[in-house]
């Protein structure tokens, strides 16, 4: 049944969101801390486990795959509802701060990727010095 997969997906999201909210309260933060990421972990665990085979394989699996495939259309809709006008109105300071933050973050991707153990040993000392 397709709806089993959809229900599993929903259950993962709800559970993840509850934990994320609880983490936010525990840390005294006005935000959901990693709810989506935790929900994703649950789905990864479920889809890698034999115990959940009935709700992750066959027709149930295609219920999850449908929403996975709807991801790009949903992202396009998300782009269409961004407050782009406000970003443009923010002026030079907002533009400079946003652009500079992105450029520096992009530059750090290859440096930190090395930490994941694929290439040379960690060399983050110079970055830490700047912080």
């Amino acid at each position: 049944m397709i709806v089993y997969g959809v229900a599993l997906l929903s259950g993962c999201l709800i559970l993840g969101m509850i934990i994320g909210e609880a983490l936010g309260i525990a840390l005294n933060v006005e935000a959901n801390v990693g709810g989506v990421g935790i929900a994703m972990l649950f789905l990864v665990l479920a889809s890698n486990s034999d115990k959940f085979k009935e709700v992750t394989h066959g027709a149930a699996g295609s219920g999850i795959q449908f929403w996975s495939a709807m991801y790009i259309p949903i992202v396009v809709a998300m782009a269409a509802r961004q407050n782009v006008a406000a970003a443009v109105d923010g002026g030079l300071l907002a533009l400079a701060a946003g652009v500079a933050a992105v450029i520096v973050s992009f530059a750090l991707v290859p440096i930190l990727s090395k930490l994941s153990g694929t290439a040379t040993p960690p060399e983050d000392n110079e970055e830490q010095g700047a912080v």
Partner: protein, 252 residues
Amino acid sequence: MDILETVFVRNNLIVAFAVVGVTIWISYFLADKLTQGRIHGSAIAIALGLVAAYFGGVATGGNTGLADVTLLGGIGLMGGGMMRDFAIVATAYGVHLSELKKAGIAGVISIFAGVIVSFIVGAAIAVMFGYTDPTAITTIGAGAVTYIVGPVTGEAIGASDAVITLSVAAGLVKSILVMIGTPLVARHIGLNNPQSAMVFGGLMGTTSGVAAGLAATDPKLVPYGAMTATFYTGVGCLLGPSVLFFIVSAMF
């Protein structure tokens, strides 16, 4: 016209599905014919969405882009946080745990490094523009983290409305730039495997930006980037009004 409006408004989510479907069809057509597939179809679709959002926002004066246009209200639901998070979680289907473990530590470090580095850059720009008040500097720095961390921090430490608005604008610029810029720089920053995608998500942090940027680069990388990115705003809200504000206060 009345009939049309009634039908469109009553079935707004369905209208959104149709409009987005047509937009994506046009985008893939353009990607294929005009760029010979060099630019990903979804990158064009996302760019079209952002352009439409700009005109929607200017025309209506609202703050949810095209979704403020009465006939297209369903875009707001389809592209809202609930559907976005649901679809992001669905992309985790088929991800292997071993891939996640490989970048575990690097992923966690990237979240903290991303928040701190974006904050420092944003705060430095604020100082360069002549701000000397620690509250304003912190809020603008937090805005460069994400457009949620900015107002959360600003309200917590008592920043003025004008500064909070600026911080949201800085976060929006960041988010939009990540959406557009990621497919362009992906090759140069080695963004082509699950581990670098996790680091990327942690460094950039803006969930919308990472979600769209990776979708336009390689949809297979989406779950890895999204996984770390969703912790970023929480960490930002944690550090912004506390440690980072204290450090800025001590300096100015």
